[in-house]
Symmetry: C4
Subunit: 353 residues, 4 copies
Amino acid sequence: MAMVCLTDFEKYAEEHLSKTTWDYYSAGADECCTRDDNLLAYKRIRLRPRVLRDVSVSDTRTTVQGTEISFPVGISPTALHCLAWHEGETATARAAEALNTCYITSTLSTCSVEEIVAAAPNGYRWFQIYVYQDRKLTEKIVRRVEALGYKALVLTADMPYVGRRHNNIRNQFKLPPHLQFKNFNGLLQQETAGHKKYHTSDPSVTWKEVHWLQSITSLPIIIKGILTKEDAELAVEHGVQGIIVSNHGGRQLDGTLATIDALSEIVGVIKARIEVYLDGGIRTGSDVLKALALGAKCVFIGRPILWGLAYKGEEGVREVLQILKDEFRLAMTLSGCINVAEINRNLIQFSKL
Amino acid sequence: MAMVCLTDFEKYAEEHLSKTTWDYYSAGADECCTRDDNLLAYKRIRLRPRVLRDVSVSDTRTTVQGTEISFPVGISPTALHCLAWHEGETATARAAEALNTCYITSTLSTCSVEEIVAAAPNGYRWFQIYVYQDRKLTEKIVRRVEALGYKALVLTADMPYVGRRHNNIRNQFKLPPHLQFKNFNGLLQQETAGHKKYHTSDPSVTWKEVHWLQSITSLPIIIKGILTKEDAELAVEHGVQGIIVSNHGGRQLDGTLATIDALSEIVGVIKARIEVYLDGGIRTGSDVLKALALGAKCVFIGRPILWGLAYKGEEGVREVLQILKDEFRLAMTLSGCINVAEINRNLIQFSKL
Amino acid sequence: MAMVCLTDFEKYAEEHLSKTTWDYYSAGADECCTRDDNLLAYKRIRLRPRVLRDVSVSDTRTTVQGTEISFPVGISPTALHCLAWHEGETATARAAEALNTCYITSTLSTCSVEEIVAAAPNGYRWFQIYVYQDRKLTEKIVRRVEALGYKALVLTADMPYVGRRHNNIRNQFKLPPHLQFKNFNGLLQQETAGHKKYHTSDPSVTWKEVHWLQSITSLPIIIKGILTKEDAELAVEHGVQGIIVSNHGGRQLDGTLATIDALSEIVGVIKARIEVYLDGGIRTGSDVLKALALGAKCVFIGRPILWGLAYKGEEGVREVLQILKDEFRLAMTLSGCINVAEINRNLIQFSKL
Amino acid sequence: MAMVCLTDFEKYAEEHLSKTTWDYYSAGADECCTRDDNLLAYKRIRLRPRVLRDVSVSDTRTTVQGTEISFPVGISPTALHCLAWHEGETATARAAEALNTCYITSTLSTCSVEEIVAAAPNGYRWFQIYVYQDRKLTEKIVRRVEALGYKALVLTADMPYVGRRHNNIRNQFKLPPHLQFKNFNGLLQQETAGHKKYHTSDPSVTWKEVHWLQSITSLPIIIKGILTKEDAELAVEHGVQGIIVSNHGGRQLDGTLATIDALSEIVGVIKARIEVYLDGGIRTGSDVLKALALGAKCVFIGRPILWGLAYKGEEGVREVLQILKDEFRLAMTLSGCINVAEINRNLIQFSKL
């Protein structure tokens, strides 16, 4: 089968992964309204393409936190890549390096950060982090990823508790015995590395802990999971370097607005003081174009990476990224833009007949 | 099968109840537009969750009419619990007591109020009442429930006549011979306790009869079945203690607005002078959160209780209530609130791109 | 099978009529958008019922053109009743008489007006008329129906040509040989009574011909087929006594607005100077209530009458009318109104959350 | 089977063409959102027909670029007619001539322009053109079509690159060996006439090349593929004679607004300075009426022509055009208009209840 678009990989993954693994990756919280609306929301937004512009030379590059990436799509943190492909996050890392984009490694990786970095030494990476009740544990992890060359910390803000994902509960999903959350190996003495309490933040974490993080690291800090202008404003006030507009792929609070529907109000209040990213529901190059037109500096994809892994490991992830890059370049040029700087709100139709 | 959410109980009930009973419980009036829109309306409302707040300690308690309940979900009055489970309303009462929430007992119970109170002596209960043409009959019932410790009277206002529920008509639904509307035993001399005219109010009842009720009891009076600001204002003017925004689960007038769509205008005119409750369409903790964000003090559920009964009697109702309580706590904390006092309109998205 | 609602009759008719006849009756023009939207539009309108009003005594009567009918639903003109039931329009006439409502007889009846009047001598009837190129033919018909006691003329205004109804074209639908458009018997010498040109108006007809009609009769004239405020205003200016907001059941121009969606603007400009009626899409008592709340004096039903005929002739039509009457009374009282005079725009929800 | 409406031809074509050919014609870009919305958008627009006007004589004629055509529907350029019918574009040309309407011949025809003109010497035709990197090649084509009597050049503006049409990629669609892009025969020495780079414009083409085209020809120039008021204004400023509001049938950028939804804003800015046409989604005479009411001077159809070809070659295309002409005349007269000059915005409903 020719893999032409991201949903081809989704179909492949659904057919080839075990039901438990597929359910784990595809799960949304509760009734999956938010998970599904993340995608549907893009289809409600209409583009206003411009024509007769010289688009013979185009450039999809952008920067995030001052670093150039080859196109404005990075990899959102998702857990447990070894479930999809035996090489797990090392395969993902190599693909991200090959495409020269940003890979946000999940704390809950099944390869260790050392293995990930070794697999793709020149890759550009951020690290997704939780602040645990045991602050020392968090600090140790920060020190390790700093030493390994991670370029930013992405603090997950929307997971004080785990959302109710029905199929995971039905399947009594847990980490298979042959896999480990390897980043905890050696850090946890009396506990197994799969211990549940490291799946989420300490639920008492507030902006105070953001200050604490800032005090122990000089890495840029990016807050992931913001959906309102109020929290966006707080992010700026607390001196972070970026935010990811995210509802955790619809896996946490069901019934939130779609991320693309939240973006406009957030961009409006941020006014370019810090970079605004987005994840959730991106499936085509047109989706990327719409998100950038509405003010995102870069978007991140989660599940499609897992589908790519399930298909062919590193090669599958490369294909997923390459298709999205090709689609984005085509959408950009067909809308009359030759680079990301030319993409703006005028591409979006705001009123209808 | 693991029971993970309320619709799991619905599926179980549909499969295990007789068709006639299932039809009776699930029935809506006419084309069932209102019954169905009660649920769909929640899915059109989007939440704006706040993050990075300390939600390590949370409290789902609230009060209704000054009494504390463990979470803002009570049990709406529904008839004929013995159809779903042999112990009927006594099972429901024990579950409500166990979860420490408010159980509005229906006049049309198949256990007597005496049996219900005996089964769960410490439960917090209100009594749903009709004003009959024979006012003495209503007065006798009021005296009994007062004596039994019921804490409020809930006057059904939207049932001067019974709505047309097609399947009930087709099934020629009637009370099976082994069951009785036990609250009428001893009260009705020449008539059977299943007599049809006690299913509804005297259709001549107006606010005058509310005054009459106030004159014969000191219990708080709550009007159930209000859908407009005009009637909400009248409720305040007539000195009642609360109203339940309700369309009778879509079983009366088909084509009304969904209760959650009616709530905002009513809350806007009431301005906290009395408590505003709501029933209809609540199926998840997010639905509860939305209703509270839009101004409901507490919500009530009807059909899910019957599904719980059909599943496992008291235990089934406890499971239903516990799941909804867990879901509500999770939705509340994931939206950044640690108690019901923090829930407000800012959680709701009012405009879209 | 118990016949509980109008769609029960629809199902019966679809199963028991020949495909050609069913197709003829159910046909809409082109893609049937308007035919279907006539029904869907009601489902988009929400009611705001009032409670705690004395509805113990209710009255569904109204008047049309000064004559009392038992409830605000009359019979719209439809052709060829003998296709559905051997007694044809005489059965319809008897049912209308029995229910004491207004029956608009179609020019294209398969019983003659004389037979219709003889079958139900005390019925209240209007006559639907076309202005033909041969004005004398129209005049002769007017004289006959005047003499027979018809109380108004209903001029079809939306049929200068016949709409494209795909299935009729595919079926090559024509009047079966055993049936006749009996109203033309004796009037047409050299032509068969089924001649096609009597199916529609002379396409040159304008308001001038309305004046001509007024000059030859003292009967009230009602224009059927108006969908805009501009034409409604012209109707008043030309001195007619009423208009029927109609899109011919979606059988003429496809893509028009639904009649209930056209009603408000028309009622707004008419300001009660003449009576405004409506047909199209009425299937329940709630639909009738909505139409009256938005300003219709009375509604008319077309296809449901044919379904009733197909079911049991006169008895079937009586059942259809009786169900709609019962549903309307229930909807009216459940919304807090005891008669049609109390029904007004406040029953309709105009804005949503 | 009687062919009653355009979708009958669609069904026929889907059943009788090879899958590869059907896929090629029906393809939309990416997720086909725009392809499908082009049709759905018409169904969201409601007509306000006027009645009691003399429509006994009607006239569907209009002019485009000063030339009379028999009704306001022309033929949009589509490629590869020989795939659908062995006579290819010569059949299309004869049908267009027979119906006296405008046929925009595609550069990518499988008959040469000489063959097309010879087949229908009196037909009114425009020529769709790309500006190639090799400007001489474009110039040679312009000279040829000028000499052959083509009356305008239609510059495709929305195809600097080919859109991603999934099924074409899966099918590895290419020109079958027995067919040629005959317009390139003799023009290309070292390359095959099917060479891919002649499928699209030079992506560097801008309004400057429009000036160049104007400098080498006196034919009117029409820009095809405009969707915004900004580009419409530029078209006027650059002195072209017309624009076609088009999204290439949804085959280029997916996610654009439907053409009928783009029309109003464009017509508003053009203010009749040049003629505005539209293609995309026209399937019925009501669709044509809506487009004219919203300001299009004429519409063009693409895929329905291919379905007609697939059905019966010239005769099939004639049937398609004749049905659309009949439907348009009927829709026009049923809305109260006797000619295209009477069609205006008042026919469109802009607000709803």
